[in-house]
């Protein structure tokens, strides 16, 4: 087990791949593995790419990876595709689009299935990112399941989130909706050579401006309501409160590589903003807090499952609830009571 971590840190691709498999399978000892990786992490930029199916996420990720490689950086990619809710099986097709980086081992591309979780990310993704980070990848790109409107887990794992919006993807009411459009640090209008791209850019810009105005009103900055009229709304305006960020819009044609330079420079700008504003640390803090909470939730759930098993399984409790002898709340209290007592005793 220890040697697997050593091999990974030595740059052994096979060890990295096997580590991710163990994380995905939740194989015996995977928790120790991830624990050992932690001290070696914290160096990579983690970029999340999300958007509706067919928006061009895979193709864009391919080109991004290629360009980062040209700049001498190493890249890790995790691409997530849905799995069948019935059999758990999956066809992971994102790799087909990675045509620009075949044969280049320094682009480590890994397909993952969502394994039944909602939210567009696999539960194992966060841990797999740690493995790539510890391995020494400079840039880690996570491509989510083709997301609809509310698959927003990516914000909890990535430092920077790019939302791909295909041209003509809905009227302005879609833009008012909550959810995926709120999580974007930048919008990428991909397939910008298609009809409707200009209109989509315009609608996104209006949405961003409206949100900025609302924020300005909410924080009492009435003076800043003046609208930005410039053509490209790369809104990294600085006011007296330190650096702030409002989402940029980048137009790309991924299959030709158009707009790629601008996209990468906006990503760099956002990274710079995160560092200067201290948001990077805030995000990391929140992420670790959430991770600890999740682990605790899972572990206590296991503890309870064991306790229920010891007391003869859940079925007999359900029988009693069905017969109206007791109710679900009372059963929960009854099962939890010995654990509560135990905790109280230990605390003293």
């Amino acid at each position: 087990m220890t040697s697997l971590v050593d091999n990974l840190l030595d740059g052994d691709h096979r060890a990295l791949a096997r580590t991710i498999t163990k994380i995905e399978d939740r194989a015996p000892g995977y928790r120790d593995l991830v624990s050992q990786l932690h001290e070696h992490t914290g160096h990579a930029d983690v970029i999340g790419i999300t958007g509706s199916p067919g928006a061009g996420k895979s193709t864009l990720v391919d080109k991004m990876a290629e360009e980062y490689r040209n700049r001498g950086l190493t890249v890790g990619v995790i691409a997530i595709d849905p799995s069948s809710p019935f059999t758990g099986g999956a066809v992971l097709g994102d790799r087909i689009r990675m045509a620009s980086n075949t044969g280049d081992m320094d682009v480590f591309f890994r397909s993952m299935s969502a394994r039944g979780t909602l939210g567009g990310l696999s539960t194992a993704t966060t841990d797999a990112v740690k493995a790539l980070d510890a391995f020494g990848k400079d840039k880690i790109i996570i491509e989510t399941v083709g997301a609809g409107q509310n698959e927003i887990d990516i914000v909890r794992t990535a430092d920077t989130v790019a939302v791909l919006v295909p041209p003509a993807s809905g009227d302005d009411v879609q833009m008012l909706k909550a959810g995926i459009l709120e999580i974007a640090d930048l919008f990428v209008v991909n397939k910008a050579d298609l009809d409707g791209a200009n209109r989509t850019v315009q609608e996104l810009r209006e949405m961003i401006e409206m949100r900025r105005d609302e924020l300005a009103v909410a924080t009492g900055h009435h003076g800043t309501v003046e609208k930005t009229r410039d053509e490209d709304a790369t809104g990294d305006a600085t006011d007296e409160d330190g650096p702030s960020w409002s989402p940029s819009i980048v137009e790309t044609v991924a299959k030709r590589g158009d707009g790629l330079d601008e996209l990468l420079s906006v990503l760099d700008d956002h990274r710079e903003y995160l560092v200067e504003s201290g948001q990077l640390e805030v995000k990391a803090r929140n992420r670790y807090a959430a991770e600890i909470r999740r682990l605790l939730r899972e572990d206590t759930a296991d503890l309870l499952a064991e306790e229920i098993e010891e007391r003869g399984g859940l079925d007999q409790f359900v029988d009693r609830v069905l017969d109206r002898e007791t109710d679900p709340y009372a059963v929960a209290d009854e099962l939890l009571e010995p654990i509560e007592e135990c905790v109280e005793e230990k605390r003293e």
């Binding site: 498999t21 069948s84 099986g89 066809v91 097709g93 790799r95 075949t102 397909s111």
Partner: protein, 139 residues
Amino acid sequence: MSEAQEQRTIRCLVGKVGLDGHDRGAHVIARAFRDAGFEVIYSGLHKAPDEIVQATVQEDVDVLGLSILSGAHSTLIPKIMDGLEEYGAKEDTLILVGGIIPEEDRDELLDLGVAHIFGPGASMDEIVEFVQENVPERR
């Protein structure tokens, strides 16, 4: 979830190497594997041996299924095997070949480390069962 709840899922790479452009069979296999609850990565058409090796190593698949209909198996498969060996991935990957492989070439491929060759007429159930029974134990 605790360590007790290991969720081992069989991962397969369905690979098309060389120049033949017929992937109906590969698609059918990919679907059958998916429906059996496996995670299937499809390589796409016209892959070089290097690309198959890269994918096999990075995706850490349990099973590599190669579909070759072009007759170039005696050139392509040794290259793939050497590549897998180089990255230490040959030992614990179950390697299957499907397609048109003449009788006189079979022993050579099996000697190289191919676990089984499925010709025309092999049933999906037969292939899925073979995978389930022969999937390598992992460290």
